[in-house]
């Protein structure tokens, strides 16, 4: 085992750490326990999700003797996970798309178009960034009541279709682009919208990806607003559905863990596939 690791180590890390040679770095003694602590809860979730009920009620806990997939089938038949998944996907995708379009337009207007009242509008918009959601959740519910949208998917999506954060983020990015770019296009007779779409949009991959990732994370994992806005089980999102699911299976931990794991899989897979995007996007919330 040791020789095998050592051999592959030297093959792989020759370029990275030439001075270390064959000896593995002592930092593994620090990093491996950290990784274990961070992964343990999710690994235990996986282990429990394939245990039988009896195995989960053994103290002290031990590993299951065989893989018991039945919990996943039980979770799927007792709760509309498919529905919840579709609901969450519909809401998340519409919010991501709407944010990309609406925040691009508004961000461009604030960065490049001089129009009366833009200063006041911008400051007011930024001010809403500082308001915690708890302050506005009660009136937002009342707004939805007036629009007759309570207990619909639209009520979850609407408040998240355009965010002040997105407008601000894209406005900052537009300001870094040289004006000459669009002036050339406009002298050639292209309108504002065409200039925006054909000249500027191709340069905006990074900030748009950031906005998409952050919107997806926010909307997909949101809990408090769906909890307030939705009552009908078939209209719930994954997180809300999951929370209601535990109520029904309070003591059947293997089934609850199977449901939890399933509800996390879509985002987890997306994260593992595009970790660089996710990490860069999250990092950019802290940077200027």
């Amino acid at each position: 085992m040791t020789t095998l690791t050592a051999a592959t180590t030297s093959a792989r890390t020759r370029t990275a750490t030439p001075r270390r040679g064959r000896r593995p770095s002592p930092w593994h003694l620090v990093l491996a326990p950290i990784a274990l602590v961070m992964l343990a809860p999710l690994l235990w979730m996986l282990v429990t999700s394939v245990s039988t009920l009896a195995e989960s009620r053994h103290f002290p806990p031990r590993l299951p003797t065989s893989v018991h997939w039945q919990n996943y089938r039980d979770a799927l038949t007792t709760a509309p996970f498919g529905h919840w998944f579709v609901n969450t996907a519909v809401v998340s995708v519409s919010c991501v798309v709407a944010n990309l379009v609406l925040c691009t337009l508004a961000g461009y207007a604030f960065a490049r178009v001089r129009f009366a009242g833009s200063g006041v509008a911008f400051v007011l918009m930024l001010a809403t960034l500082m308001v915690p959601f708890q302050v506005i959740m009660i009136p937002t519910l009342l707004v939805m009541k007036h629009l007759h949208l309570v207990d619909t998917l639209a009520s979850i999506a609407l408040p998240n279709l355009a965010t002040p954060f997105g407008v601000f983020l894209l406005r900052q990015f537009f300001r870094t682009l040289p004006r000459e770019l669009e002036e050339a296009a406009r002298i050639d007779g292209a309108g504002r919208l065409r200039t925006l779409v054909q000249v500027l949009l191709p340069l905006m991959g990074a900030p748009l990806a950031t906005l998409a990732v952050l919107t997806l994370l926010n909307v997909w994992n949101d809990f408090l607003w769906p909890l307030i806005a939705i009552q009908t089980p078939s209209r719930m999102t994954l997180q809300l559905g999951l929370a209601s699911f535990q109520g029904a299976h309070a003591t059947n931990w293997p089934v609850v863990m199977a449901g939890s794991l399933m509800s996390q899989l879509p985002l987890l897979i997306a994260f593992l596939c595009a970790q660089r995007f996710f990490v860069r996007s999250i990092a950019s919330t802290g940077g200027k």
Binding site: L42, F115, G117, Q134, V135, M137, P139, L224, L267, T285
Partner: protein, 306 residues
């Protein structure tokens, strides 16, 4: 300079010629987003303030009560208790998360084998939802069959109640949320660490600085902007703690984990005292604003002194 000064002439002429279209274009582009933000951001802020002076049960009937909600708020023992829990939680959560994130980020900021795996392991909780996090910790910390009690009994320690013990419940919430937030802090710190100029460190080491000293004396001060951001961001989120409480303890046992937002949720959506809840929310809002300003002021002073 002359080139810049020479250019404005044609630009102003053109913009004057198109002054009406500019306004139309500007508002045309901005208004879809602005309308939504106004309807779901600005209107509710004002409405919430109005609500806080009303008696409203969410079903349509509302009555003007003046400052009664705010008067009640001052003398509400449960609110005071939930404020205390929020403060205790925040005062512990923010520094623990920041120090842990800093140390983990420093450990991850190197080229060793499996570093990609180690980083992924630390980041994964960031994308795990608060609900799933709460479930799995509820299960790990289950007093009867949980893994943690299993580990404790394996080394001969007494079993604990965790979420079911009034003295431990808030601590269990703290451990769970730190686990959930470390990855975020590490992402911020790693990005900041990677932008610390390498020659700074090399110079320090040439001067005979030990790596540990160089880390604290050279790298950490360079991280001040990231630390400021994390202090503000984590404080805001700590004061708004809700999801994990709702899923695990529902504010119990015996109110031991009733934090401000959970209390206001109960007032608004379980007891239908929407006006009172709006008043509590406004107090929270002002507290968050003041605290953020104080933190920013302190961090400016701290970085100027350093």
């Amino acid at each position: 300079m002359t080139a810049v000064a020479a250019r404005p002439a044609p630009t102003t002429r053109r913009s004057r010629r198109r002054s009406l279209p500019e306004g139309v274009v500007g508002w045309g582009f901005a208004s879809p987003a602005l309308l939504l933000i106004a309807l779901f951001g600005l209107v509710p802020v004002v409405w919430s303030l109005v609500l806080s002076f009303q008696d409203n049960d969410l079903s349509g009937s509302s009555e003007w009560v003046g400052g009664a909600n705010y008067q009640r708020l001052v003398h509400d023992p449960l609110l005071r208790e939930s404020l205390r829990h929020t403060v205790v939680y925040t005062v512990l959560f923010v520094p623990i998360t920041i120090v842990a994130s800093l140390l983990v980020a420093a450990a991850l900021n190197r080229q060793v084998r499996f570093i990609g795996f180690y980083r992924t392991a630390v980041f994964v909780p960031v994308v795990t939802s608060t609900v799933a996090t709460a479930f799995v910790f509820n299960w790990l910390l289950d007093p009867d069959y949980g893994l943690v009690n299993g580990a404790l009994s394996a080394v001969g320690l007494p079993q604990q109640g965790f979420f079911r013990d009034p003295d431990q419940a808030l601590g269990a919430i703290l451990a769970m949320t730190v686990w959930g937030w470390i990855g975020f802090g590490v992402i911020i710190y790693l990005a900041a660490l990677q932008s610390v100029p390498k020659d700074l460190l090399e110079a320090a080491q040439l001067d005979g600085c030990s790596p540990w000293r160089a880390f604290w004396r050279v790298q950490v001060p360079q991280l001040a902007p990231a630390t400021t951001f994390l202090v503000v961001w984590l404080t805001i989120n700590a004061l708004q703690l809700f999801d994990e409480i709702y899923v695990t303890t529902k504010g119990g046992p015996v109110h031991a984990t009733t934090v401000v937002v959970y209390y206001l949720y109960q007032q608004a959506f379980q007891f239908f005292h929407a006006g009172y809840a709006a008043a509590v929310a406004y107090v929270l809002f002002v507290a968050i604003l003041l605290l953020t300003l104080v933190e920013l002021r302190l961090s400016r002073r701290w970085t100027e002194d350093a």
